[in-house]
Symmetry: C2
Subunit: 375 residues, 2 copies
């Protein structure tokens, strides 16, 4: 690993979609990229070797969870998050803001930041843009995110605008704190576009962030219950207002079809718990769609979950065996299902990258919808 | 894998202890051997590759669990237990009798066999010596066990004698059924010595089994609550009455100190859920004794669980990380703890084999008790 400046290179375009790579101090991220979620310093149910073998170049760590347990200062004392969890490749950390809003109790938001109580033990904590950056530096993440405010939906235009404006002011403070923290080369802080489903607010947010200046821009506050078509509209209306030469990250998305549609609209990075959480619950993603492995029809199925899949679950086991493990609540069932879904997601990203490079994304999207896509 | 006759070769002796190997149709088992327990066609929480890397030559499958779920005929239809669970190495299956006695409800024992109801769904089932052998053949195990009756302790001498005599009659029927099943070369059926803590009954049981003739002999009905000293006495009083040229298997044992003491008294094979179950519960076995990784003193411990251990948990992670995973109920914690404990057990067996080969078992046992043994 050589320290390097953080940079994004677009290799090819197809319509609004781009294929490229992000160079970081800890390695290259091929885009469009899917980042598995390692909430509590582990991608649930699988060892990091399996995440890597699935094809992931980067994973996401949750600042909120890690600050509460085991604690950011503790992780720093043990050599940082990469060493702690044995993942030497890039890590993106969120700001913690989204989980504070969705998990913590007794939240109180002020201009300064947000006070809250832990969902574990009720202990009191405070998060400001500066503290979020400090925690992310203690974790030693490669890509940090600004603290923002995600309003709960439905929200009035007034409330959405207020939160977007607050997020812009927090973006400026986050950048100042990040620069003051003297990050090593090859690290980056991304700004987050807010504004709900109000296209003019999204544009105002993007413009404000660009004035501050970030090496990457995220779209926050989407996939929070709105229809897919609305999400696609917001993406399509926002990405043209973001710099072509900066990566765009759609936070918390999504299902395979969400990712395919967002890539076609110019998104470069994704994270989501769906492949891991669904896997633990018995849902497997396959080239023919999502299936529930608990279904009795798999009890005697000698073929793998997906005969085009290269993952350990499909390489070494019948669907009947996975069915048995999941029905028996065996841990290995969660492990194999997770490895499968992560591999599926990474193979989908690789298929998208190849299609964009060949200028055949439209055909890929059409074939994806009928289960005929080659990836 | 070449089919071969089943045979046991003693390479060296040290007092009552022996080091050797068992050749089966699916590979060689180094003895003294520890067999991890793969109850429901999986060694809980770890993939089979991890069991193999830990050093296991053979694992145990539970007939009772497998006959109920997924079902022996189903496993046979899918190519047998080895293919089903992706473990191409030897598998020993128990008869199912012990779990029927300990898990099933509404048990009724007759000369013919035992009728019971499933602990899953209350469905009615019957197990006879012949059906147990049939199930074990459907699973395609390498070493099958006769059906026996384990009396619940405490039991009268009369009750113990009755169960032992019934087990002898079942041994004869088991052997006849096994031979009638035309097993492929390299498979074996073991008889089981019963008789509780009554040494004369144990000797009578051993003599009766030898008259029937088996390629291996197990000691059943031990480690069921009696003090370790009593178990050791029964072992020491029984092994001299078993053939030197046949492997001896102490069923369901045990803690590391139990295994060390039993090896010194002439036992060649062991199985136990302790390393796997304890691992999932946060107990790690180390060369300095068992430790509870949940203990707060590990929260900031940068060293591994056991710095002499070669397992993935000790090679790649701090004790602090394992502590964090286990306290957070993360699946990876169970996986790493299990891999560690299985590796510890296999390294202990390797240490015992080396000590016997060198004629230094007494010194090894003394060093083991002070935590100074080299293995």
């Amino acid at each position: 690993m050589t320290a390097t400046d953080f940079r994004f290179h677009v290799e090819a375009r197809d319509g609004a979609a781009r294929v490229g790579n992000i160079r970081t101090g800890r390695g290259v991220i091929r885009t469009p990229a899917f980042m598995p979620v390692g909430t509590a310093a582990t991608v649930k149910a699988v060892p990091p070797e399996a995440v890597r073998k699935a094809g992931a170049d980067i994973l996401l760590g949750n600042t909120y969870h890690l600050m509460l347990r085991p604690g950011a200062e503790r992780v720093a004392g043990l050599g940082g998050l990469h060493k702690f969890m044995n993942w030497p490749h890039p890590i993106l950390t969120d700001s913690g803001g989204f989980q504070v809003m969705s998990l913590a109790s007794l939240r109180k938001i002020t201009e300064e930041g947000v006070a809250f109580r832990s969902h574990h033990d009720g202990s009191a904590h405070a998060m400001s843009p500066e503290r979020s950056i400090e925690i992310q530096r203690l974790l030693d993440s490669d890509i940090a995110m600004q603290l923002d405010e995600c309003v709960a939906l439905p929200a009035s235009r007034e409330e959405t605008a207020r939160a977007m404006q607050l997020s812009l002011r927090w973006a400026r403070r986050s950048k100042a704190a990040f620069e003051a923290s003297a990050p090593p080369p090859g690290r980056a802080l991304f700004g987050i576009v807010q504004g709900g489903t109000e296209q003019d607010l999204r544009q105002e947010s993007a413009q404000g962030l660009i004035e501050i200046g970030f090496p990457g821009y995220a779209l926050g506050g989407l996939a929070v219950g709105e229809p897919q078509a609305v999400m696609f509209e917001v993406i399509a209306a926002t990405t043209p207002h973001l710099p072509q030469e900066r990566p765009r990250y759609l936070m918390g998305v999504g299902k395979p079809a969400d990712i395919v549609g967002a890539v076609a609209r110019g998104i470069d990075m994704f994270d989501c718990v769906i492949p891991t959480r669904s896997g633990r619950n018995g849902q497997a993603f396959t080239r023919q769609g999502a299936v529930n492995i608990r279904n009795a029809k798999y009890a005697d199925e000698p073929r793998p979950l997906d005969d085009k899949c290269r993952c350990p679950a499909c390489r070494d086991y019948s669907a009947a065996y996975i069915h048995h493990l999941v029905r028996s609540s065996e841990i290995l069932g969660a492990t194999l299902m997770t490895a499968h879904n992560l591999t599926y997601y990474q193979d989908l990203m690789a298929g998208l990258r190849t299609a964009i490079r060949r200028g055949q994304l439209a055909a890929f999207v059409a074939d994806f919808e009928t289960g005929a896509a080659d990836y």
